[in-house]
Symmetry: D2
């Protein structure tokens, strides 16, 4: 941490800051500059709370230097984490496609879609049983009945299933049925849910919050890892900006940045980012090309009758095309991956 003093800060104010640093057990190292003094804070283990010093007399700015996260950091673990679910490996250069409807609506609907997406190349099946909805009057999902249908889909097709645990109360239930437990964007900083996920025996798919920085997102993953669960998959799903031609703005630069900062696998959800069908295939190609290790895509065999998010659900033949294109780009991309990595190392 670096504490930047006002140009007009007095010697007494500088001394007081040094004193405050040392009173907390750190080492203070004043750095006289041309126009002002800055004071380095050394020998801290982990991050120091900037606000401790920001209010002291003569302090202009407090600049954090060390990243606050630890277990999720690439500096802590150099090799990529690989999450194994059934036959699928997420991370490690694979491209894993997760697909299914926004919400489970019936056994028949789920099985119909599952067979379509499996045939097209999806490795995991997704479907919501408990749905977070902006309105209390909107369809909230089938609940446990939805989970039973997911289990039935797995039994029939062999595909592992991904579904969301919206809260602590239903976590046990979801954990009992799901192969991968999703934590949604709105819950990214629901810390009790993150702690519960840290005690889960199943991998966690952690979506980025609507306006979360990379740092906050990785800190949310840190909560899960700190609880003992190292099987975390990150999922970029768009952030909220001034732009309204897509529901959210898919932030693809987050993917190389996360891959540099963290060893955790990261996938993309173009369906929720776009909010409309016509952008899903192009954004899927882009996500694979930027280096995402997987895609999560909404598919429905009859989107016009879907109980939620029909506008962003692909038709089965579109999803088939999406898989073909995604694998083609991924296939081409892998050979030069190491080369690209070499080159990027110097950057």
């Amino acid at each position: 941490m670096l504490i930047v003093m006002d140009q007009l800060a007095t010697a007494a104010e500088i001394d007081a800051v040094v004193g405050a640093i040392e009173a907390r057990g750190y080492t203070a190292r004043p750095i006289p500059g041309g126009q002002r003094v800055a004071i380095g804070v050394l020998h801290n283990h982990g991050a120091v709370d900037a606000s401790m010093f920001l209010g002291l007399e003569g302090v202009k700015e407090v600049i954090p230097v060390t990243r606050p996260f630890k277990l999720v950091s690439r500096e802590f673990q150099v090799e990529d984490t690989v999450v194994r679910v059934g036959d699928a490996e997420i991370g490690n250069g694979h491209l894993t496609i997760i697909a299914g409807p926004c919400a489970i609506e019936s056994d028949e609907q789920a099985l119909t879609i599952a067979r379509h997406v499996q045939k097209a190349g999806a490795q995991l099946f997704r479907g919501g049983a408990f749905k977070p909805r902006t309105s209390p009057y909107a369809f909230q999902g089938m609940g446990e009945e939805g989970l039973r249908i997911l289990a039935h889909v797995r039994e029939e097709t062999g595909m592992p299933v991904v579904t969301e645990a919206m809260d602590h109360e239903v976590f046990d239930l979801v954990e009992a049925y799901a192969d991968v437990i999703q934590i949604g964007a709105r819950n990214m900083q629901n810390f009790s849910l993150l702690r519960r996920a840290g005690r889960a025996g199943k991998p966690i798919l952690l979506k980025r919050g609507l306006s979360a920085t990379i740092e906050e997102w990785l800190m949310a993953a840190e909560y899960i890892m700190e609880g003992g669960n190292t099987q975390v998959i990150l999922c970029e799903r768009g952030v909220r900006t001034f732009a309204h031609h897509s529901r959210n703005t898919l932030d693809l630069s987050a993917i190389p940045v996360v891959q540099k900062e963290s060893h955790l696998p990261i996938i993309a959800d173009p369906s929720h980012a776009a909010g409309r069908r016509s952008q899903v295939i192009p954004l899927s190609r882009a996500a694979v090309a930027v280096g995402a290790q997987g895609l999560m895509v909404e598919v429905h065999h009859a989107p016009e009758t879907a109980l939620s998010d029909g506008a962003q659900s692909l038709y089965p033949d579109q999803f088939h095309e999406l898989c073909r294109q995604a694998h083609a780009i991924h296939g081409m991309f892998s050979p030069y991956r190491d080369h690209a990595a070499d080159i990027q190392r110097s950057a």
Copy 2:
């Protein structure tokens, strides 16, 4: 809802949309324009899900017309809701000031600050017992011990206390101790927590989410009211934007907008918006001047030793000054309030 068709949409596509509308039990009313056809959706009760129609052939855009909220709406209840807590009335032209430390640290700390803020004019005392923290390694609050200290403060000073319930698990406990239960910004769309709050017998202070629209915020309040709890206080606390000279951007225009759309009282939290002490007094004045019915402010007698958010906590004499200024503006503002309202009615 209005469905706007492409200029080139065929008669068959228009018919198909009309059919889809009627299949859901609504009335379709095509409106031929100069360049394209639009189709009105009538006789819906409550909001219609736009996504049902967005994916149909020939549809260019779907525009919601009716607001999705109901119980929170000014159209539903014309008179202001007034929330009574002890002697304080929130709403109804009063200015209610809530103050205290970010986190309860000890009985002595809490009582010292409580006596300061009460003397300066605060009517409610705030203090965190369970703290949501970005990092799992940061101080997480004293938990139930903190709640007991809050109860002791109330006993000693007579001030009602406000504290946050971070999750469903601790809600019963918080409800047992607190006079007003806060739901934090990160939990604004934690729907199970909102449902639990809807069953609570205490007023709820609902903070706006970091990137929540007014509509999403009011829908979150709708969850609480729909559950049966009509005692909801809204709290604007800044939104996340590109700007970084304050921690968040206090969106004061939200206050007149909410007052127009909803009957619920709304207050402002300048401390979390600013993130630094020097902006808290000016923003407090602005919030009162714009029409906020209360303020929630962080105060600490020794901010440089505070366990969290010290940089934004006011010193007691600053808070005293804040109260003086806030009441002065509020006092002057009330007399012409009705007149102002009359004038604004025509806008």
Copy 3:
């Protein structure tokens, strides 16, 4: 345009709105709904200014229906515009790569880089002679001397050159030397510059403004086309959001949206979006995969000594690799382009 009335609007207020519409020569069509009345505005040619009606008594909301742009619109011209510069065709399924330093620093620097990028596969050379800089104390470019160097590069290599015209004053000069004239992000709504560009005899590369909506961007292009210059290339270069892990957030969803709304070619500038070298190659791949018809990339043979934007400039070997990857993705993408387009048509 649709004017939505308050639930409580009186018949007199509705009549007054109808009168105001007709007074402006449009047709008013009231649409009685379940809860409120809406009034359609018909027979307008082009967009109607919403603000005319927003302030009338009883009006709750005014919703534009028709898009305000005309010449740039896909509805106006169905076929893609193709911009020809030397041997290069921008649009029409080609992938055109533009590369060079941020700023021209010397004849030797420019030629060295031009030879590198030409060898790697760039078709156009870029370099700034007049540089818009946030600080008046920063290097502002070599001015006309820079333009002469660009002309020399063209003479030596045969590559057409792209450079920015920062203002009306230097436009003639830039037009005399450049093959493509760039209008920078900060000037996207410099309307006199746009009008001047509309009278230019050279193609215009129009960058998206830092916080411009798609609509505002296309309206800026409309200014140029309305002036008579149909040779406009759009360039997505990232928008400003709360995120700070990249300099701007590259909004790749803008590319398919623009391609749907407009016939103009669109390329991407990953260098300015990222602001740091390590994201440029992944974002270039993503931009090509999403469907961009070109890339504009900063390259420097010695970025550590560059006079501006060194951190985002690629080394020549990195640029070589970028071209290889971009063309590989583009090559694969073209065959199924039509198929993809077919599928997307239904979306």
Copy 4:
């Protein structure tokens, strides 16, 4: 400037960075920390371009320390700048109200409105003669005829007039007629216009760009001051965020921040921030309460017939009420201003 190295940076990489710093004539001061090395850059005059070092091997982050602006800085000039226009003083504790229509439409319209606003208490008259418009098809202002009308209004009423110079070409003309020359939000980084304004003999009203940081805004003012014109008034007019209940989000925290960083006077424009009439009075009160030294407000005697921005224009009686409320808050605020400043000094 502080250069933060990777944890795994080698001694050779650190040496190379030190070398690069010294090669540019600065002093390098390595600061070994617990986990990584940081390197301070000293003895630079003015800001150092971060990008010079960001791309070097082993560099994780580059953190600017010194602010890049100079002439506009409070550190450069401690006392407030006061801009005098006619009898009005802007700055120095005064509250200056500027009012008038968005666009000048006719001599009669201008005079009618001018007499209304003068009677209500406005000291300066505003009105657009050259209008920047998103669409080339929208009303672009009356041009020089509008300037002549402004001069006539000044002659008749004695009020100084404020109007916008949209570009370099019309600057001479505008300078000849106006008392204060406005540079609009879209032109905040039109650097040739800023340089021209720096040579003007009239005060400049510089609006904040739609997504400009405080630093960029002050740097734009630095361009003007660096050119020799010290009479600059800043104007906060809202920034673009995800929120859409107001046209822009009025960022009132910018006002105390600017007042701390700079000696230049700062006013607020609630009309353009809100975009609708009903928010203008509350936001005006808030702006005065937060400490703005003036307001610029749109007023029209018949907004429903206005050629632009009618929805945000106040009726004369509303403006009268606004002035009454604004002066009441300002009057009360001044007495304790010094006291408040004292208290804030310690923050």
